[in-house]
Symmetry: C2
């Protein structure tokens, strides 16, 4: 696999991460973030994200304060996906050309600060540099609420839970980019979708509900990840790491009713990405208790013996957006 002339474009992100994982302790790259044991059993979680202008953000679709919020939210979502309930803080590496207005940088920090004000934690420090292109490299630190959430903890018979609806962020992006005319959706949905895209909410609160709904006597075993790369990607990641097949219930897609009426609605729900909800696989009793306790949370389907992702209902094919997940590559 390792040819002298290989370029990153030949590898793709997953193969690149697989190769880089060889430099870390076994299993270290399997989850959304790293766990560090402190004394007295408390566990620190650390996560690094890089956001590059033109790839991950654009002045065309959000203000710099939205960017700061979003960068923090994406990073805190990875903490939530590991089981964090509280945030210690963030470090920020900022790169920008010398011609960048100070006001742009200031507003990015205003957005970062708004997210930290809402979720707790402080700006811990950082570094600044010139560079050809604007980008942010954030590292977030948090503490586990109770136990860890791992992609690999699922078992056949588990129920799949989503902490909220999917597809809104992608709808918001489509509206902002003009892919979809504003009048294609109601004013209320338009506002919700744009807010979902610009100001996503990391689900640290859902970790609290998860802990509180743990049935008495039940040991801590929670499989999960966040849906930053899309709902089916999240489900597929759990299925693969857990050595299971994920069966999704088509009638139970976590899809807004109005969005379901759009031609793209189902595809955006399955693969739009950046909704930053948690997708979990839990023992049925716990899953039902969580859905009862957490408004907006829904049951999606089950884990079963096998591999890949499929509909629970017979031979209904997945839309082409998700074909890559139905059988593992």
């Amino acid at each position: 696999m390792n040819h002298p002339g290989e370029r990153l474009a030949d590898l793709g992100e997953w193969e690149l991460l697989r190769r880089l994982a060889a430099f870390a302790p076994a299993g270290q790259f399997d989850d959304d973030a790293a766990l560090l044991n402190e004394r007295e059993g408390r566990t620190l979680v650390v996560n690094t994200d890089v956001l590059v202008e033109g790839l991950h953000f654009s002045d065309a679709t959000m203000t710099p304060a939205d960017l700061g919020w979003r960068a923090a939210a994406a990073n805190l979502s990875d903490l939530a996906a590991m089981g964090c309930r509280s945030v210690v803080g963030l470090t920020v590496g900022l790169v920008a050309p010398a011609s960048t207005p100070w006001r742009w940088v200031e507003q990015v920090y205003v957005g970062l600060d708004e997210a930290l004000q809402r979720y707790g934690g402080t700006l811990l420090g950082g570094d600044c540099s010139g560079g050809a292109q604007r980008l942010l490299a954030l590292t977030a630190l948090g503490h586990l609420g109770h136990g860890p959430i791992r992609r690999s903890s699922g078992r056949p018979g588990d129920l799949l839970v989503s902490t909220g609806p999917h597809g809104l962020s992608r709808l918001g992006l489509a509206l902002l980019l003009g892919e979809l005319a504003p009048e294609a959706v109601s004013q209320a949905l338009r506002a919700r979708a744009i807010e979902a895209h610009r100001r996503p909410l990391p689900r640290l609160d859902a970790v609290g509900a998860l802990i509180q709904s743990q049935p008495p006597g039940h040991t801590w075993r929670v499989a999960g990840t966040d849906s930053s790369d899309g709902l089916v990607a999240a489900v597929a990641g759990i299925a693969r790491a857990s050595g299971c097949q994920a069966l999704l219930d088509h009638a139970a897609l976590p899809l807004d009713a109005e969005l379901a009426g759009l031609p793209q609605g189902e595809a955006w729900c399955l693969a739009g990405g950046e909704d930053f909800e948690l997708v979990l696989a839990l023992d049925p009793g716990w899953a039902k208790a969580l859905v009862a306790a957490l408004p907006g949370a829904t049951l999606l389907g089950t884990l079963a013996a096998g591999q890949g992702v499929a509909w629970r209902q017979g031979d209904r094919p997945f839309p082409s957006c998700c074909a890559g997940f139905t059988h593992f590559r």
Copy 2:
């Protein structure tokens, strides 16, 4: 100071950091890294550095494995400058164009891994992205050995200590860039200087010596920083934060004898930068005990009432490279 049309180029790095510090708790940006108190009194230290191709590194002067080592070393040096003796690990944000050879990325990680093998800690995780320009954003985590080292802890009467010589890294860069002919220095110095530039050694070991040389009954009070930005910049940073004047002993410059014979030798010692030694201000008894205990460590001068940096010997002027530090801006 805050004009609508201001650009980052108008501010400079220090003013930019000063403004960003307003988003963090008071004092958080004053030192090389952030302190986080864990339970049981152990203190975690976190530091983020960004290295951008063309500004901080170049294929012309080092291999990708050197770059990986150097990036880790620069980041671990900030941990040492806070008083860390042990390393928990690193997260790595890597940005590179899709045309980048995999072999380049692999070798960067080989160098990072070599540094972690030497100093302890593991690769904790990270993120990869495409981008216009190669860059690394590293976050290092470590634990304090005993107490913190802060720029602001100096007092008049303290002695200034350097943990090693200065100017070698700049000499190495000059040789690699062809600014200086190879035959201008001996083969032994050439090899040392190029090694100092490509494979700098963060002084976590010096923190161990500092702890061991603490005189009995002496409370922990250690002022210091690392010399990544140059020896005089380090001394000036301590003087400014401590509200003192730093008086340097010209006869005691931590300068290799052969390097002292070059026309640029003294300027490179004072302002070359990237030697990654620790510069400390300590009670005289402790300073002398440390210099006796740590091979290569030397006394540089003293802190006194006043401000800025000056020679202890009367009216000898600082070379122009350091004029900005003699009186605080």
